[in-house]
């Protein structure tokens, strides 16, 4: 058996059906993003450079902005909590609910909540906690995990969903028409919204200046969840801050376009506290839980640029590795290029478990090209490979690079190897007992080896050019 990298093994074993769903879904999103950005802007690149600068500035002054956000939120009547770990966040949220005797809530999609496994924890503690984003709702019914940041069920097709709805009693019959599936979820979920006493959301941005929490959804599920609920709890990563309201316009313009090819996401909500006194529908109490859960370790690392991420998923959609392997191959909440950087870093002591992720990349750079906050993902992948090397972590299937390093750092050895390898033109190397080589050559024919010819040609050429 050949030792493959774990992502590679996953990609080989994935069903064709699942792979087709992922490839089609991600390719379509990449096309939409490209079309809308270039239709709307002459030079979209300058926008993302600006967004990167704003985020870097915020991260470099995070203590100041977090303090400012805290006081702005409190001024707006929001109760602010801090959670250094996932466990702290879960305990805080549970105690808010228990103190108020709340046992039913809806939850709108939050990657931070996925990261700390909030749902199973609340359910274990007797809270009915229902996901309301259509994709997350289906994930919850299937006891699955999301495989994409924006489209959690990109790996599923309509037939699987229709079977799930029938099995779970959402519908009495099998119907795989996407519109029917959506209507059935609509009917089922709105009854749940009306019964819920609280709503848990994530947060896309918080303006430190005004304390406005910005939530975006296309379905309107967070707004519907909030309307009948008495209590709103938002779980927000500490890196989600921007300095001012004006900056929100920069990020909102980039987020929708990068994520789904929309100028703005349908429901863009600016929340600065519990509902207005005259408003009959909406929470009377609002809590923001700021989550660290390893983000300060990332801030301390040489990969802090990854904290600029606004979770748009453009890098997942464009990545050839993600498309072949799907998000589940990354074995963590965040998959794809952003996940290959963020997941090992957030893993803390378990870094070795995920140290293979940064190695499963050809460093083609597409992820950086599409990133709305210009994160140099390929550079960060290299820094993490370096970290793994320094910490002597071996990942299964990753080819050993030390023989190459020896060759490449010694000009004389390199020259010799180039010339000697010409022997390959005359030897049947495809039958050499080296399995990776056999496998590689099983699908390809090597061209004739010309090692050393370029140097010879170049030397001759420069000698000629020196002649008068």
């Amino acid at each position: 058996m050949i030792d493959h990298q774990l992502i590679d093994t996953y990609a080989r074993e994935i069903s064709e059906e699942k792979q087709t769903s992922v490839i089609n879904g991600s390719a379509a999103s990449t096309d939409k993003r490209y079309t809308v950005l270039f239709k709307d802007y002459e030079n979209p690149d300058e926008l993302r450079k600006l967004a990167a600068k704003i985020k870097d500035h915020t991260l470099h002054h995070l203590d100041r902005y977090l303090e400012q956000a805290e006081s702005s939120l409190q001024r707006n009547g929001v109760q602010v909590h801090f959670a250094d770990t996932g466990e702290d966040a879960k305990a805080t949220i549970l105690s808010i609910l228990k103190e108020r005797g709340i046992s039913k809530l809806t939850k709108s999609k939050s990657m931070a909540a996925e990261e700390i496994h909030l749902n199973p924890y609340l359910i274990e503690h007797g809270i009915e906690c229902l996901e309301s984003d259509l994709g997350e709702f289906i994930i919850q019914l299937d006891d699955d995990v999301p495989s994409h940041i924006v489209r959690p069920i990109i790996h599923k097709n309509r037939r699987e969903i229709a079977r799930t709805f029938q099995r779970e009693g959402i519908a009495t019959d099998y119907n795989d028409d996407p519109e029917t599936i959506t209507r059935r979820a609509r009917v089922f979920l709105r009854e749940k919204y009306m019964q819920a006493e609280a709503v848990i959301t994530g947060g896309n941005f918080i303006s430190a200046e005004s304390g406005r929490l910005v939530l975006v959804t296309n379905e309107g599920n967070s707004r519907f969840g909030m309307a009948p609920s008495k209590v709103h709890i938002a779980l927000v990563g500490i890196e989600k801050l921007v300095p001012t309201d004006r900056d929100l316009a920069v990020f909102l313009n980039l987020l929708g376009r990068s994520a789904t090819g929309q100028q703005l996401t349908v429901y863009t909500e600016f929340i600065s506290g519990p509902k207005d006194a005259t408003q009959p529908s909406g929470p009377e109490e609002m809590h923001v839980v700021f989550l660290n859960n390893g983000r300060t370790d990332v801030l301390e690392s040489n990969c802090r640029e990854i904290l600029r991420c606004i979770r748009c998923s453009a890098c997942q959609n464009v990545c050839p590795v993600y498309r072949q392997a799907s998000g589940h191959a990354y074995r963590a909440t965040y998959g794809g290029p952003v996940g290959a950087v963020l997941s090992p870093l957030l893993a803390g002591k378990e870094f070795p478990e995920l140290a293979d992720l940064p190695k499963a990349s050809t460093l083609c750079g597409a992820c950086n090209e599409v990133c709305p906050v210009d994160i140099p993902i390929p550079d960060l992948l290299l820094r993490l490979r370096d970290k793994a090397k320094r910490e002597k972590i071996h990942s299964p299937g990753a080819p050993p690079m030390s023989p190459f390093a020896t060759l490449a750092t010694s000009p004389s050895l390199w020259r010799t190897a180039m010339t000697m390898s010409k022997a390959m033109n005359h030897l049947p190397i495809q039958v050499a007992p080296v399995k990776p080589l056999q496998e590689w050559l099983g699908q390809r024919t090597l061209p004739e080896w010309h090692g050393g010819d370029f140097r010879k040609w170049f030397n001759n050429r420069s000698n000629k050019s020196k002649q008068p």
Binding site: G135, R151, R223, Q263, V266, F270
Partner: protein
Amino acid sequence: MSSRNAIFSKIRTALGDVQAKADYPDYDSAVLHSKPKLEGTPSEAFSRNFTAVSGKVMNSLAELVVFLQENGQTRGYCDPRLMPEVGNALAAAGLTVETAYDRSRYEDYQFGVTRATGAIAESGSLILDDAQTSDRLAALSPWVHVGVLRESEIHRTIPDAMAALGPSRNILWATGPSKTADVEGILIEGVHGPGLQLALFV
């Protein structure tokens, strides 16, 4: 140590290493403007962009009445303050109009007429602000939402609308009907909120 202190102390330690801290960039929000989206007067741009996100502009009460009748949306809610301008005309045309939203009968409302406190021309968004929306649910649970809008309240650009957000506790920019593409990337309108988003100019 409390989580708060732990987090602040970790941030300060982490930032101790950062040699060159990035300055806040000096920028003009005009870089965000999408020129093709802004062509024409604000109301022309709004109508065009609102239509592009599947919204429907109603230029008169008569047009709204016909639209609701043709779509079989005959029973709904109207913000009591909008009865003189809108609701009475709907009732006069034979539609059932209620001025109190009763949550226990949420399925009974096929349309909801509420005030849009503004709009954004560049993106085709309606702005609903908590202080002036008679009931958030009335704009959310019915299949048809009608945002009643005055032409003078259209902001030209997204940064303009951002600068004018105001003090309300909750402000919504609704850019088209509620939608999803979760199932195989196929666009379906009307997931949790309205399947039809209408703007009525008064």
